[in-house]
């Protein structure tokens, strides 16, 4: 025994870990292979018979995993964009241009102490962030990212979205009530009042659109908007889109409606007593919400994954250089140039350490990669969902940028102004929108 103990003690910590982990991994691998060999046919059979369930599980997993990089990206974007608006440099330490800072923030909250204040209700306190986070993640399931790329195509997708979105209030109220803090309680009550009030104009603003589309399935709504950008619903429902935008801002607790976590008034609102990863969940949920409302705005009013022009998908390249002549020459000459400049500009603007020619080289490489990837995907693979996801994310991040921009520019409204605006202006306006749309439909169709 002493020999074994002495040998064991001589090992360093990594040595001990390897010593224990390698046999364990070998055993696991052997077990896995044996399971697959023995039970494989049966498992495949089961999976093939339950394809919808398998699809749902995969979609849910992907969506759950997707929220993390999305939130990281939006947090970084917000830090950097607001810094540039404030004439600051912003994050520039971790990773290129500080782009890994939000990842490091994520690691930080993971390692911080998970503190429950004395007097708090531990059960409710623990589950509140989970409810809030799940409410936002679940909304992502119905959003069509590209043709054929969505979690579930409900025929009541929009209704599902509002129902699940309303669930977040429960989580916020739980957090506010269980924290045993007056600031938290005020924040929770504010969020309840705000979200419930804005849910009404939010829902009413899209009823006109539902009448036009004749369906509540988000996938079908996107398909209806195929063609040129003039077919997007924003041109038929401008008031509806505006109301939706405002109400969705309030729904996601973004400036100028971020009263639930107004730091100059009620410290951090419902999240005052939270620390560590529980706070991280609230923080993540907020940024996932920004992505979701932008995505829904794009889906409903801005054509979803459709390109802004009528593009026959999948594209089959039948290019005859002779017939295109000068036009092709112009395209070949200017599109890569413009793309190079477009890709170089952010690098050049972001840091003084990057010289102009370095930015141009980077931009050139990125532009060529981008063009190559697009052409490859479009023409040769026939994967129209790649193009779809590019358009979708492009449009979505334009709106994400708008929300960040608003955060950098606008002060906060007061709670009475907030409620007055919802009930006195948005609600009548959305009813008017609904009435006019219904009347127009009757007139046109009869």
């Amino acid at each position: 025994m002493t020999v074994i103990a002495r040998g064991w003690n001589r090992l360093t910590l990594p040595g001990k870990i390897i010593f224990l982990a390698v046999p364990l991994l070998i055993a696991l691998t052997v077990g896995l292979v044996a399971t697959i060999v023995l039970l494989g046919p049966w498992l495949l059979d089961v999976l093939a018979n339950n394809l919808p369930i398998v699809r749902f599980v995969i979609a849910a997993t992907v969506v759950l995993l997707m929220t993390v990089p999305t939130a990281f990206l939006i947090i970084y974007m917000e830090m950097k964009v607001i810094a540039l608006m404030n004439l600051r440099i912003g994050p520039d330490r971790v990773g290129p241009f500080g782009s890994l800072l939000s990842v490091v923030h994520g690691l930080k909250v993971l390692m911080k102490e998970d503190f429950t204040p004395t007097g708090a209700d531990p059960l409710v306190f623990t589950w509140a962030p989970v409810v809030v986070y799940l409410a936002s993640v679940m909304s992502l399931l119905v959003i069509p990212f590209a043709p054929g790329l969505f979690g579930q195509d409900f025929n009541l997708g929009l209704l599902y979205f509002f129902a699940v979105g309303g669930l977040a209030v429960v989580g916020l109220l739980m957090a506010g009530w269980s924290s045993f803090n007056k600031y938290s309680l005020l924040g929770g009550l504010r969020s309840a009042a705000q979200i419930i009030s804005y849910e009404i104009p939010l829902t009413l603003s899209v009823v006109g659109l539902i009448l036009l589309a004749g369906t509540m399935s988000l996938n079908q709504i996107v398909l209806n908007q195929a063609g040129w950008f003039t077919d997007w619903y924003v041109f038929q429902q401008p008031l509806g889109a505006l109301i939706f935008f405002i109400a969705a801002t309030a729904e996601a607790n973004r400036t100028p409606f971020d009263l639930t976590e107004a730091d100059s008034e009620i410290v951090a609102g419902f999240a005052t007593e939270y620390s560590g990863m529980r706070f991280g969940f609230f923080f993540f949920a907020e940024y996932v919400n920004v992505f979701i409302i932008s995505a829904l705005l794009v889906t409903l009013f801005f054509g979803g994954w459709n390109a802004p022009f009528d593009w026959p998908w999948p594209l089959e390249l039948h290019i005859d250089p002779a017939s295109l002549g000068v036009g092709l020459l112009l395209v070949v000459a200017f599109v890569p140039l413009a793309l190079t400049l477009a890709f170089a500009a952010p690098f050049w603007l972001a840091s003084r350490r990057i010289k102009g020619w370095q930015a141009l080289v980077l931009g050139f490489v990125l532009a060529n990669l981008f063009i190559g990837a697009l052409l490859f995907a479009w023409a040769y693979l026939g994967l129209d969902w790649v193009a779809g996801i590019v358009w979708f994310l492009l449009k979505t991040y334009v709106f994400v940028f708008t929300f960040v921009w608003m955060r950098g520019t606008l002060p906060r409204v007061r709670i009475d102004q907030l409620m007055g605006f919802a009930w006195k202006w948005l609600l009548p306006a959305s009813l008017l929108n609904l009435f006019v749309t219904a009347a127009a439909i009757i007139v046109v169709r009869s």
């Binding site: 600051r88 600031y183 005020l186 400036t255 100059s264 906060r412 709670i415």
Partner: protein, 415 residues
């Protein structure tokens, strides 16, 4: 922890906590903590304030609240979101500046006056220096007076520029504070070239100023003056033309001129109610009678008026700086004085117009080289009391807005 004789440091022990100790009671009965003082009410007002009506609750704001401008503590009496009553609790930053001044000689006392207000230090030195000069019958050279006015007006702009940003920050706007810090940094760099420090300048001396105008200061000033107006106006359009900002500020924290005068308010906060009282004109001092500037007033007396008035004052300050540069006389910057100052026994008072109102010092001399008694009047202290008049009936969100519009600096309040 109990003190035992075998303890390595027997003199260092903690008191044994008893069951009557309020801290113990607090720990034991979770759910009873209220921001109520641990003694029976001493005054009628205290008894009234800490008696809760139906549906009311007390909310403790500060001293660690993120937006209380330093270490102010406010106890709010709330009915839902509405503020029924409030009670500012002061003293978290008390350093005993007046007593410190009484234990230093006249030269040394000046450096205790600086950190009273870390935003407008020159205006804290100025009344003290002026009162000492009155005691000593010193004639300050005209060039020194012009330099004082020049640096003082620069400091006024720096203070007001910071105020504009703070105001927006307390309403939730993130950007203006950083834009106004650019303005402030330029001025502060300039003043550090003149005085040697960025924040606590310690520049005025009895009988003059510490150093003459130098090249760096003048070149920085000229560079900044050429674009100051444009820069400040551009920054302010972000807020002035913002519907949310204007709607929140208008009609908020209104005070009429009679009440303001009865509460001894001075400075921009008084002028925003329509009273054209400015110490620079009402009780002229230094070289202000020779300079041409207006006293902007507004009649509304609300937060928006106080905010806009400060912007008008920045424009007037720029005018004064321009005139100072053109009329700057040659000559010495210090009066001839003995090294050891022993004024005659007596008393002297000096008041000046600072960015927040009237700053004043009252000094009693007993003939030694130290002030026998020194009192400092700070406008922030006065204005903070007015919050109690302005606030009731508004919402929690407005507490900080009203407080910010009065622009108190806690260093000056607690002295």
């Amino acid at each position: 922890m109990t003190a035992t004789t075998d303890h390595p440091h027997p003199h260092r022990h903690y008191e044994e906590t008893s069951a009557d100790d309020p801290r113990v009671v607090l720990d034991r009965e979770i759910g009873v903590f209220e921001p109520v003082p641990p003694y029976p009410p001493r005054t009628e007002r205290e008894a009234e304030f800490y008696t809760l009506g139906d549906g009311e609750m007390l909310l403790n704001m500060g001293p660690q609240h993120p937006s209380t401008h330093g270490v102010l503590r406010v106890v709010l009496k709330l009915d839902g979101e509405k503020v029924v009553d409030l009670d500012p609790v002061l003293g978290y930053l008390h350093r005993g500046v007046e007593k410190l001044c009484e234990n230093a000689d006249y030269h040394q006392a000046i450096c205790y006056l600086d950190p009273l207000e870390y935003v407008s230090s020159l205006f804290c030195e100025w009344p003290g220096v002026m009162a000492f000069e009155k005691l000593l019958d010193v004639d300050v050279p005209r060039r020194a007076e012009y330099i004082r006015v020049l640096s003082g007006e620069l400091n006024r702009i720096a203070s007001h520029a910071l105020f504009l940003g703070w105001m927006a920050l307390d309403l939730g706007g993130l950007t203006p504070i950083l834009w106004s810090f650019i303005e402030r940094d330029e001025i502060v760099d300039m003043l550090s070239a003149l005085t040697g420090q960025r924040m606590l300048f310690n520049y005025f001396r009895i009988g003059g100023v510490n150093g003459d105008l130098n090249h760096e200061f003048m070149s920085r000033l000229g560079d900044w003056m050429s674009r100051a107006t444009e820069q400040i106006e551009a920054g302010n359009t972000l807020l002035n033309e913002n519907e949310i900002f204007v709607r929140r500020m208008r009609g908020l924290g209104t005070i009429d001129s009679t009440t303001a005068l009865r509460m001894v308010m001075t400075g921009p906060n008084l002028r925003a109610t329509g009273v054209p009282f400015d110490v620079r004109r009402a009780h002229p001092y230094s070289v202000y009678p020779e300079l041409d500037f207006d006293i902007p007033t507004r009649d509304e007396g609300d937060c928006l008026a106080r905010y806009l008035l400060r912007m008008d004052e920045i424009r007037q300050s720029l005018r004064i700086i321009d005139q100072c540069l053109h009329q700057m006389p040659d000559g010495p910057i210090m009066a001839k004085l003995p090294r050891l100052l022993r004024p005659r026994p007596g008393r002297a008072y000096a008041g000046i117009e600072g960015p927040r109102g009237q700053y004043a010092a009252y000094v009693v001399s007993d003939g030694t080289d130290q002030p026998f008694r020194m009192r400092i009047h700070d406008p922030s202290f006065i204005h903070l009391q007015a919050v109690g008049v302005m606030m009731p009936g508004h919402l929690i969100a407005d507490t900080m807005a009203v407080m910010a519009s009065l622009d108190p600096i806690m260093g000056g309040v607690d002295k």
